[in-house]
């Protein structure tokens, strides 16, 4: 999952980025509203964490401009706490509203829920035959036994699982699993897929040669 964090406080941005990366997200950052909007339009992020008071372009204008082109879920993270502020923010097109200061755990949970909803799933548990994904705990079970996965492997599996029944192209995987700072090798996806097959069974992930991967329902 790849998210964009737009926040003008460098220290806070740093903490948020660290926390999200540790949760397995690919994180892009921006200190300014206009720069952030440019990134948000250029890439298909799974979610955007947005501050309200931003230099260049404030959060509300950001959402309004973004909504003309994309439906990327936006979580507004701001110190503005009044009811009318929240109404304005949500009405402008934000999908969730969180008031600073907030717990990082809550932020991550809300982000997960946001992504889950936008991919059309209501539950945090995904069952793929004998393989069960618990997206809230980021755990994978096969026949009731925990299977240890690296964050990257988990992220790849989660992405394929969330888009199950649909083809996930290599480009999509690159776009959603790696942030702008990542300069991984081009065959890194193949490596992760082969690791997943070793751990979860050969038949779970099907390769469509030259196109991408798919997990069948």
């Amino acid at each position: 999952m790849r998210v964009l964090v737009v926040e003008d406080e460098p220290d806070l941005l740093n903490s948020l980025t660290e926390a999200l990366r540790e949760e397995g997200y690919a994180v892009d950052t921006s200190l300014r509203g206009d720069e952030g909007l440019h990134k948000a339009i250029s890439w298909d992020y799974d979610a955007i964490v947005l501050d309200w008071m931003l230099p260049g372009l404030d959060g509300i204008q950001f959402i309004e401009k973004l909504r003309r082109k994309k439906t990327t879920p936006v979580l507004l993270l701001t110190a503005r706490d009044t009811v009318s502020d929240r109404v304005v923010g949500l009405d402008a097109g934000a999908d969730d509203y969180l008031i600073k200061p907030c717990s990082l755990r809550e932020l991550v949970a809300r982000l997960r829920a946001l992504i889950r909803r936008t991919t059309g799933h209501a539950s945090s548990r995904i069952e793929l035959g004998s393989v069960i994904l618990d997206t809230s705990k980021r755990l994978v079970e096969v026949d009731g036994n925990d299977v240890p996965l690296t964050p990257r492997e988990y992220a790849l599996l989660e992405m394929l699982a969330l888009h199950r029944g649909r083809l996930v192209t290599r480009t999509m995987i690159y776009d959603h699993l790696f942030d702008e700072d990542d300069d991984s090798l081009s065959n890194i996806v193949d490596v992760h897929v082969s690791h997943l097959r070793k751990k979860l069974g050969k038949d779970l992930i099907e390769t469509r040669r030259g196109q991408g991967y798919i997990i069948h329902d």
């Binding site: 003008d8 406080e9 460098p10 220290d11 806070l12 740093n14 903490s15 948020l16 660290e18 926390a19 540790e22 300014r32 008071m53 931003l54 230099p55 260049g56 110190a79 503005r80 706490d81 009044t82 008031i99 600073k100 200061p101 907030c102 717990s103 990082l104 755990r105």
Partner: protein
């Protein structure tokens, strides 16, 4: 708190006086006085016209007698002698009903006069007219006490002057020519004639309760010191008119005015009752009007009570009100405007302050949470701690700034503070900030005159430092900051010369439309630039630096101004009153 318009007088009990009751009291007093005045005028006019009518009748009667006796020879009217004029002859009471009525009746040969006492009990109890007897002008019929007169004549064998007079007058002619005058005829009227010597020549029947008086006294008092022909007087309830007849004779016509007095009495009673009812109606009507008039006030009170701090945006609709009430309402509206503005400012300030405090708090919480979420390397802990430290410093600076501002809101008399060398403060601050300027590649220049101001040293240091830090921060690399401190001529209306501190920079400048908001709290021209920068004392970057400057300058009785040309630099000018002592 001043007690507005509470009058101690005309106030009942201990509670607040009621405007309605007070107005009502005054109003009823005025109504009562005007009613009394009107009643008095009406009564005066009524009695005047009544007495005028009576007097006219009496005068007409007197003139009739005058006409009748004018042709008599002078000796009949008596010869004038000063002694005789004062000779007292009592006016005789009319004879008793049981007296010599038959004789008198024969003598007069006329129907009974009006006096019921003289007529005796009437069989039918009716009046003259009802009895079929013609009305007579009985008021001039002579009433000689024949017994007495007869006694006189028998002893003196001479006709008394009175008898002679009565015989000489042609009373029948008088009756013919005298028109029937109602008041004289119906009233118990009477007539008297005195000769020039003061002797009683004629006397008609006198009313029963006629007050006795000496004739000499009577005539004497009547014309005493008077040159006019007619004298009017009231004697008891008898109205009398004295008329100078021919040959120094005096004719008196009088009448019982019990009926007139009774009429006047009934009239005044009627006036009193109608006045009372008018007063009652006026009182009730006035009370009703007052209630109606005060009704909008009560409504306004109810509306004011409904306006709480939550609905300060509510206003009275002045268009639907009468002018006087609308004036009050619009004054309240203006007050509400100011109140609302104050509340909004306070709310905005609180919101801004909480926002500014939340940001570093968010950093603090997220950093600690992140650091504690798992085991980390020492380097990573150090990084998080540094973040926390920065956030804490920022919060400290902000709290200090807020405290400074709230302290500056308290009343402060700079005049009572010790005099300070303002030039020293400026030099010190320049020195402290030299390092920062060098770090930012900004040249500091200064021109400083020595001058003294009254004030708080810490505050003034902060003022100079804030202005300098701003000038250094919002500068361009290689730019300069010029601090000038000069003594100035006092502006008109001020005695002491001024100290003018100018801090000019070659920085990025401030857009013209931002200038009016510059000294507002938490106002930032460019959020991006100020956020990342930290002032020496933490106030810069929070949007409070210039607000604090403004508050400090105002505390010291001075003024602060900003001019700016975008991308060419800004100039901040502070003017403070000096102390005369050097």
């Amino acid at each position: 708190m001043t007690n507005l318009g509470a009058k101690g007088w005309l106030r009942w009990g201990q509670g607040p006086s009621s405007l309605r009751l007070r107005i009502l009291a005054w109003y009823s007093l005025i109504v009562m006085l005007s009613l009394l005045l009107i009643s008095a005028l009406v009564m005066w006019e009524a009695s005047r016209s009544l007495w005028m009518d009576v007097d006219n009748d009496l005068l007409a009667g007197a003139k009739l007698i005058d006409g009748a006796i004018r042709r008599l020879p002078p000796e009949v009217l008596g010869t004038f002698s000063p002694d005789a004029g004062l000779r007292g002859e009592p006016i005789h009471r009319p004879p008793r009903p049981g007296g010599p009525r038959g004789d008198r009746g024969q003598r007069s040969g006329r129907p009974r006069p009006f006096n019921p006492r003289n007529e005796g009990p009437l069989p039918g109890g009716g009046v003259d007219g009802a009895m079929g007897t013609p009305r007579s002008n009985a008021w001039f019929q002579p009433s000689l006490d024949t017994q007495e007169v007869g006694d006189n004549t028998s002893t003196d064998n001479l006709a008394s002057p009175r008898e002679t007079f009565e015989e000489s007058v042609d009373w029948s002619l008088l009756e013919r020519i005298a028109p029937i005058r109602l008041s004289l005829q119906d009233a118990q009227a009477y007539s008297l004639v005195w000769g020039s010597d003061g002797s009683l020549l004629h006397q008609s029947r006198l009313p029963e309760e006629f007050p006795m008086v000496e004739v000499g006294e009577w005539t004497k008092t009547s014309f005493a010191g008077r040159s006019d022909r007619v004298v009017r007087q009231m004697r008891g309830h008898f109205r009398e008119l004295f008329f100078k007849g021919p040959n120094e004779s005096v004719i008196c016509v009088g009448m019982n005015t019990t009926r007139e007095l009774d009429r006047l009495w009934r009239y005044s009673m009627f006036l009193l009752l109608s006045g009372l009812s008018v007063f009652g109606i006026a009182l009730l009507g006035g009370n009703w009007c007052l209630r109606r008039t005060l009704e909008p006030m009560r409504k306004m009170q109810a509306a004011s009570e409904a306006i709480g701090t939550a609905q300060l945006d509510q206003r009275f609709d002045v268009r639907a009100m009468d002018r006087e009430v609308a004036d009050v309402a619009s004054a309240i509206n203006t007050m509400l405007d100011r109140l609302q503005q104050g509340f909004e400012q306070q709310k905005q300030f609180t919101a801004d302050a909480s926002h500014e405090l939340r940001t570093p708090l968010a950093i603090l919480l997220s950093s600690t949470e992140l650091a504690l979420s798992r085991e980390r390397s020492a380097e990573s802990y150090k990084k998080e701690l540094e973040k926390c430290n920065r956030a804490a410093h920022r919060m400290h600076g902000l709290v200090e700034s807020l405290l400074t501002l709230s302290r500056l809101e308290a009343p402060f008399d700079s005049g009572s503070m010790p005099p300070l060398r303002f030039d020293t403060i400026c030099r010190d601050q320049l020195e402290y900030l030299a390092e920062l300027a060098q770090h930012r590649n900004v040249t500091l220049r200064s021109e400083i005159d020595s001058c003294t101001v009254h004030g708080d040293a810490v505050m003034l240091e902060r003022l100079v430092s804030n202005l300098l830090v701003n000038a250094i921060h919002y500068n361009q690399p290689g730019g300069w900051v010029q601090l000038t401190l000069r003594m100035c001529e006092p502006t008109p209306g001020q005695i002491n010369p001024l100290v003018r501190l100018t801090v000019q920079d070659s920085g990025i400048g401030i857009p013209k439309d931002e200038l009016p908001n510059l000294f507002k709290r938490f106002y930032r021209v460019d959020k991006a630039r100020s956020r990342s920068s930290e002032g020496l004392n933490g106030s810069c970057g929070s949007g409070l630096g210039l607000a604090i400057c403004d508050a400090i300058v105002k505390c010291h009785g001075g003024r602060i101004d900003a001019e700016s040309v975008e991308s060419a630099g800004s100039t901040f000018t502070v003017e403070l009153p000096t102390s005369t002592a050097k």
